[in-house]
């Protein structure tokens, strides 16, 4: 039986896995959604929408798991963080509803004019979702003022340069993922355009990320100390370079999924870097994983379920992806 300290770490790992899975999977869908608005050609837009239609719902479910997991495993963090980012969260949920409707209702629109309007709305909603998520992450890293286990602020702390910059980074990153997905899943002009855009966005995203790391280090002396540790920063730089090289090499390979997987790798790296910077804090400046954790009885109860059900979930989700894999061959009626 692992000790209670280990239980807390395992719980944090389970939560991190859920949130990261969401960012990787739905981030790609949102990126495709963002690109939908800027595309004129009806056939290309159908290919884009159809490529995410059978999978977006399952991808979004990871966000529900993240919410339930945070409440269950670290209720104190859930209670402090959410009121602090009240408006960005509400806005994000409304935008997610618009995205869901735009994607599933577009087939019921009679004219292509209406479809274009719906796709533009879908783009706007996806941008809003990505931006809000970045702002929430930024507000979290910056720290939330709390007292006696409750949020203690005015509700506007998220509205500042750093959090908005995080929103921008995430949006650009999602654009990149969306392009990589389309490069993998489509052919012809859309395929080529996605490659061009992905190649530019890769450099742009990594530059923004490097700036973000530098800015984060200036927020708090503890972050600066962590981020200047050679054991953390040198592997990160090496990995990032390798992934970037793999990304560009992927475009010359016959395996069209390679650029996407390298881009996802960069996201994993960024997420890991954030976690390592904050550790052992869950909600800076003071709330640690230990202090926010629910009791060991609750955490054990959930970890058992997680360990049993997660492999099964991953198995059938992968199968669901495989059924609709391969290149899109859109037909416009």
């Amino acid at each position: 039986m692992p000790s209670d300290d280990w239980i807390v770490l395992l719980s944090a790992a389970a939560l991190a896995f859920s949130v990261l899975s969401y960012v990787l999977l739905d981030g790609t869908d949102l990126g495709v959604g963002m690109l939908l608005g800027g595309t004129r050609d009806a056939t290309q837009r159908r290919a884009m929408a159809l490529s995410i239609l059978p999978v977006w719902d399952a991808n979004e479910t990871w966000l529900v798991l993240g919410g339930g997991g945070l409440l269950a495993l670290f209720p104190m963090a859930y209670a402090i963080l959410l009121p602090a980012v009240y408006l960005p969260f509400i806005l994000m949920f409304l935008a997610l509803i618009v995205r869901a409707m735009a994607l599933t209702f577009r087939d019921h629109a009679g004219s292509d004019r209406l479809k274009r309007a719906i796709d533009a709305l879908h783009s706007f909603a996806s941008l809003l979702v990505g931006g809000c998520q970045g702002v929430v992450l930024g507000a979290l890293v910056q720290g939330v003022d709390q007292q006696d286990g409750q949020y203690n602020g005015m509700g506007w702390e998220w509205l500042n340069a750093f959090a908005l910059y995080c929103g921008l980074v995430l949006v650009v990153g999602y654009f990149w993922l969306g392009n990589c997905w389309l490069y993998w899943r489509t052919e012809g002009e859309l395929h080529c355009r996605s490659r061009r855009q992905a190649r530019v966005l890769a450099l742009f995203t990594l530059t923004l990320l490097a700036l973000l790391v530098a800015w984060t280090a200036r927020l708090d002396p503890r972050y600066a100390e962590r981020l200047t540790q050679p054991w953390l920063i040198s592997p990160a730089v090496i990995l990032a370079s390798a992934l970037l090289a793999g990304h560009y090499a992927g475009f010359r390979s016959r395996r069209h999924y390679l650029p996407l997987f390298c881009a996802l790798g960069v996201f994993v790296l960024g997420f890991a870097l954030m976690a390592a910077t904050l550790f052992p804090l869950l909600v800076p400046p003071h709330l640690t994983l230990q202090a926010a954790a629910s009791g060991p009885v609750s955490q054990r109860f959930m970890l058992v379920g997680f360990a049993i059900l997660m492999p099964i979930t991953l198995f059938y989700n992968t199968y669901g992806f495989r059924v609709f894999s391969g290149k899109m061959r859109p037909i416009v009626r």
């Binding site: 059978p54 399952a58 919410g67 859930y78 599933t104 087939d107 409750q150 509700g155 997680f306």
Partner: protein
């Protein structure tokens, strides 16, 4: 106090709007997934094309409904933190795991197989496709199981301890999940999802019989739905009665509010059945009361002389808003009686072999199409308003559960959500009615019929 009050009301309104909207979609998902499962099973068994055609017809509605249901459900997973962070801190260790299991064991099952169910008819074999339909239907039932466990625990908390810091701590998961009111609530809710779906399908089938030629598809929809209405409605009354008897034990204030009973009748006089009344919270009495003596005792105590605890026997600060509970209950039961009548007429006409030719009955079915879901929503108002002023019954007050978010933000968000939901409700309803206006055709296509050629390895 004034500021807290309106922030509290705005937060409560926000929860009511978001859950009221979501609950109908979620209930329709549960009912429809199970209806589709039966249709596909019948098709695999009998191999009659009509089952597949009706399956594909409703699959299109189902696809839109599930998407909306999933998207509107997301916000609820976070409502507890956004507006009710004190409740989350206090009870998160118990409510959180139940919601976590709901996602792990149910939502993923639903969402993971949804793509195959909705778009995979021509991509996978019929057996595998049936498996996907079953997984979605089963997942929807399991999700109801977990979320009602969490909801019921807040009504009848059990299996918990209270820590040094005053928080609820889980002690016995079995008792937490199977808390005293859970079996009643779960059964009542599942039957409600079946009834809500059945009245809607009956309405659609009847509409098709009224509007276009008499087709086997329209007949099948009307017939199956009326079987469900005829059998499930009486069962729902029995379950509802048991649920009420149990509530009388654990939440007597709620039953007193349902009955509009401010003072206990004299010994042996029995409880009246109040058909009409305007309960007044300030004067603590009813205006314009119309009642039948003793009938109330019949369904409350199953005799003619028994009485129940009246509202004046509880502290003023512990009773729920009586008019809302009183009227919501009457709407629910009234609609229930209406469905009972529809089911009975259906049986009689079927016996006379006139079910498909009686046009007034078809009109009645179209009119009562929303009855099931309206009754369900009324029932939710009864139980959730009736448990006020508590979130965790008897232990944590609603006013002590609130987040420390400014009144302006809560109010602004609530009004925006209300406006937004009204718009998407109109759009959603419009698309739904447009889909249902068109009858189910021979060789009815499924959603995205060309997707098999457009994706995947050829």
């Amino acid at each position: 106090m004034e500021a807290l009050d309106s922030a509290l009301m705005a937060a409560r309104a926000q929860f009511a709007i978001t859950i009221g909207f979501h609950i109908v979609l979620a209930a329709f998902t549960i009912g429809m997934a199970n209806f589709l499962m039966v249709l596909e099973a019948m098709w695999l068994w009998r191999r009659q094309q009509v089952y597949l055609e009706v399956y594909r017809y409703w699959l299109k509605v189902f696809a839109l409904n599930v998407a909306m249901g999933a998207a509107t459900g997301l916000i609820l997973e976070y409502q507890f933190g956004l507006n009710w962070s004190r409740l989350s801190t206090q009870a998160g260790e118990i409510l959180g795991p139940l919601m976590f299991y709901e996602v792990m064991a149910a939502f993923f099952l639903e969402a993971g197989f949804l793509g195959i169910m909705v778009f995979g008819l021509r991509k996978v074999g019929p057996r595998l496709h049936f498996f996907a339909t079953c997984a979605v239907a089963f997942g929807s039932l399991v999700s109801a199981f977990w979320i009602l466990a969490a909801n019921s625990w807040m009504h009848t908390p059990a299996g918990y301890g209270i820590g040094a810091d005053g928080r609820f701590i889980a002690q016995d998961w079995w008792r937490i999940i199977f808390n005293p009111s859970f079996p009643y609530r779960f059964t009542h809710m599942i039957l409600a999802t079946f009834l809500g779906t059945a009245t809607l399908v009956a309405g659609a089938g009847a509409w098709q019989l009224l509007r276009s030629a008499d087709t086997p598809r329209a007949r099948l929809q009307l017939s199956m739905a009326l079987w469900v209405i005829a059998t499930v409605t009486p069962l729902q009354f029995v379950v509802g009665d048991l649920h009420g008897k149990h509530t009388l034990e654990v939440q007597p204030q709620k039953i007193a509010a349902i009955e509009g009973s401010w003072t206990r009748p004299p010994e042996g006089a029995g409880e009246p059945l109040r058909l009409f009344a305007l309960p007044d919270m300030n004067e603590r009495r009813n205006h314009f009361e119309v009642a039948i003596p003793r009938i109330g005792s019949l369904y409350l105590r199953h005799d003619l002389g028994g009485t129940i605890a009246a509202l004046d026997e509880f502290p003023v600060q512990d009773i729920p808003p009586v008019p809302v509970v009183f009227w919501a209950f009457r709407i629910m039961v009234g609609l229930g009686l209406l469905m009972l009548g529809v089911g009975a007429i259906g049986l009689v006409l079927r016996r006379k072999r006139r079910l498909y030719g009686t046009r007034w009955m078809h009109r009645l079915c179209v009119l009562t199409a929303p009855a099931g879901f309206l009754a369900m929503l009324s029932g939710w108002v009864v139980t959730e308003v009736g448990r006020q002023p508590f979130t965790v019954y008897g232990l944590l007050r609603t006013a002590d559960s609130l987040s420390s978010v400014s009144k302006e933000q809560v109010l602004g968000a609530t009004l925006s959500i209300l406006a937004f939901y009204l718009v998407i409700f109109v759009i959603g309803l419009w698309v739904l009615l447009r889909l249902l206006r068109e009858p189910a055709h021979e060789n009815e296509p499924e959603p995205q019929p060309t997707i098999a050629d457009e994706t995947g390895r050829p």
